[in-house]
């Protein structure tokens, strides 16, 4: 049985937090550094024992593990399982960890072909498996979606885990937040957007800044993939481009949109 994290305990000794990198760009860890004032407050509540991948999994003591990156090798699988054994609380941080992220592009080709494309002649010395989000291998207690993770949401999750409460992910579209921000919808300007099928929680970050939603937070539980496909077709996108939109971040979560393309 898993040890339960005890929030009361955090009032005395600060819980120890460690960060682990898998296949990713470390951009989400950087979001911690970008937290500003809040980082100082967080540092007052937890003890960050390791911030980079160089630490050994067993060597140090930690209770809360943040996993950044997706699982892409057999070694990753063993490593993340070890971390899970040791940690009381495991947090998947960022799109690579929560949904596979852009690394999922590997899954579009047969593994052998993907290996050969990247490593050429040396490909048989390389071990690689299909890209997986962390929860496909071990139980994840908290998900922090996004590429990169959205700072206010990181802080909310930290508060939840310190209070021993679950963090309930929004199960509605980015559009909901986008409308509350009173943005002009991109579709009103004849531009496409993946907001209608993407899980909210980023406060429509990209649209607020003049971009489209790329779907980096993954799809809502039950995305209207066929409805979204019809809309994109109507706005002049080709089927191939639509698939690219859907798979940019979400390829490892394929089953959620497959129905629309079969």
């Amino acid at each position: 049985m898993k040890k339960q994290f005890n929030p009361e305990r955090s009032r005395g000794a600060k819980p120890k937090v460690a960060f682990f990198d898998f296949t990713d760009c470390e951009g989400c860890q950087l979001q911690f550094a970008n937290m500003g004032q809040a980082l100082l407050e967080v540092a007052g509540l937890v003890d960050i024992v390791n911030f980079r991948e160089i630490m050994s999994e067993e060597g140090q003591d930690y209770e809360i593990a943040f996993i950044e990156g997706s699982i892409t090798t057999d070694k990753d699988v063993t490593r993340v399982k070890k971390i899970r054994e040791k940690a009381n609380v495991l947090v998947a941080l960022g799109a690579c960890a929560t949904i596979g992220g852009v690394n999922g592009i590997k899954n579009r080709a047969p593994l052998e072909l993907a290996k050969e494309r990247v490593y050429g002649k040396k490909s048989d010395t390389i071990n690689t498996i299909n890209t997986m989000p962390v929860h496909k291998v071990v139980k994840v207690d908290y998900f922090i979606h996004g590429c990169p993770a959205y700072i206010p949401e990181i802080i909310t999750v930290i508060k939840c885990l310190l209070m021993g409460r679950p963090y309930v992910l929004p199960n509605y579209a980015v559009c909901t937040e986008c409308k509350m921000n009173e943005n002009v919808c991109r579709y009103e300007k004849d531009q496409e957007c993946l907001g209608p099928v993407t899980r909210a929680g980023c406060n429509s970050w990209c649209v607020n800044n003049g971009n489209r939603c790329y779907g980096c937070r993954g799809l809502v539980d039950n995305p209207a993939a066929d409805g979204q496909k019809d809309i994109l077709l109507k706005y002049g996108l080709k089927l191939e481009e639509i698939l690219q939109h859907f798979t940019l971040y979400n390829d490892s979560m394929g089953e959620k949109y497959d129905q629309a393309f079969k």
């Binding site: 802080i155 310190l162 509605y172 509350m180 943005n183 002009v184 919808c185 300007k189 409805g227 979204q228």
Partner: protein, 361 residues
């Protein structure tokens, strides 16, 4: 004095005067659309505009509203906002005034909503009558909201060189009292007003192919219509149609803690029946599974349930839901297809029984 007039060239002087009296909000351009915003520069006010992205409801029922502060140890709560400030909503369309009247009914129903009522007390509404359609998506004539029907303090009507001001309340009267450039309307002004209204009759025609009574009856009988499946198949559940609707008022509350983990704030945040989890209850049962039944619910919340409960249609005809829908689900089209089905098909079993059981307020 019931009607006054102001020369167009004096409008800006009056607006300056108004912005000194209270916080002034008015429509302004945002890219290819319009939004209500605090007025910083009077020249930015758009008097001719299509309905704003969000209705002015954001000022009396904000997207995310502070309710109260709390402390855990020792336990303590306190009102988040103690005083509400006076504000003027300027150039509000008649459809949006109807929206305010609808929410007034809702928030005054017991238990009354103190936050809304406090704001409402401080709110002054200056309307402007549309003399042309904003666009093809509006169904204000069918809803009877293309002309002023009360609910405002002052109403502006463009009669050419001047605006007529209909004074509809004490609050409104106070905003023009003692101003030399606002005069009592003379006979010629009143004649112009009549002419403007006559001309409007040629432009504004009922957009829905049936009377409201007929529509109500049709809704009563077409709960199981395949039209809902078609709408549900196209809908992506983005929730835009409910966010932008002046008569949607669903909300959720959430407690946000400070990093001290001892103090926090309770917020109320807009919510929508189009969200997947909206009608889920403990145990995982979902009373409105599927985008078809959720879309149907939205329509019934405009054309049937509020009529049963308040004897009022909760569609103002603003057209926002259609305008904002990337799936091009059109309210006019949906209602007209129901009406067509009603006239073309034999009687269907009544929906009332189902509605009463499964679809509460």
């Amino acid at each position: 004095m019931k009607y006054a007039s102001i020369k167009k060239e004096d409008l800006n002087i009056w607006l300056e005067y108004l912005s000194g009296r209270a916080r002034l909000y008015a429509p302004r351009k945002k890219e290819n659309l319009f939004v209500f915003r605090p007025v910083k520069d009077i020249s930015e006010i758009a008097l001719k505009y299509i309905p704003t992205i969000l209705p002015p409801k954001k000022y009396y029922f904000p997207q995310k509203e502070k309710l109260f502060k709390f402390k855990i140890r020792p336990f303590k709560t306190a009102k988040a906002i103690k005083e509400f400030e006076d504000f003027i909503l300027f150039a509000v369309h008649t459809c949006d005034i109807a929206g305010i009247q609808c929410l007034d009914v809702i928030f005054r129903e017991s238990p009354e909503d103190p936050n809304y009522l406090n704001r409402k007390e401080k709110m002054i509404i200056i309307g402007i009558e549309c003399l042309e359609y904003c666009d093809k998506h509006a169904n204000c004539t069918s809803m009877g909201n293309h002309v002023p029907r009360g609910g405002y303090d002052l109403m502006l009507v463009d009669i050419g060189e001047k605006f007529i001001l209909h004074i509809n309340s004490e609050k409104g009267e106070k905003l023009i009292r003692g101003l030399t450039y606002i005069k009592e309307a003379n006979d010629a002004d009143m004649l112009s007003l009549e002419r403007v209204r006559e001309a409007k009759k040629k432009i504004f025609k009922e957009e829905l192919n049936g009377s409201l009574a007929k529509i109500y009856e049709t809704f009563d009988r077409h709960f199981a219509s395949p039209i809902w499946q078609d709408v549900g198949r196209r809908c992506v559940a983005c929730g835009n149609c409910t966010s932008v609707c002046p008569t949607c008022y669903c909300f959720d509350t959430s407690d946000e803690m400070k990093l001290s983990l001892n103090e926090g704030m309770r917020y109320r945040i807009w919510n929508s029946c189009q969200m997947e989890d909206y009608a889920k209850v403990a145990g995982g049962e979902d009373f409105r599974k599927g985008r078809d039944s959720r879309q149907r619910h939205r329509y019934y919340r405009k054309f049937k349930y509020p009529v049963d409960k308040f004897n009022r249609y909760f569609c103002t005809g603003c057209g926002r839901c259609t305008r904002t829908c990337m799936a091009e689900i059109s309210l006019i089209e949906t209602v007209n297809s129901l009406l067509a089905a009603e006239s073309g098909t034999p009687e269907r079993p009544s929906a009332s029984g189902v509605a009463e059981r499964g679809e509460a307020k």
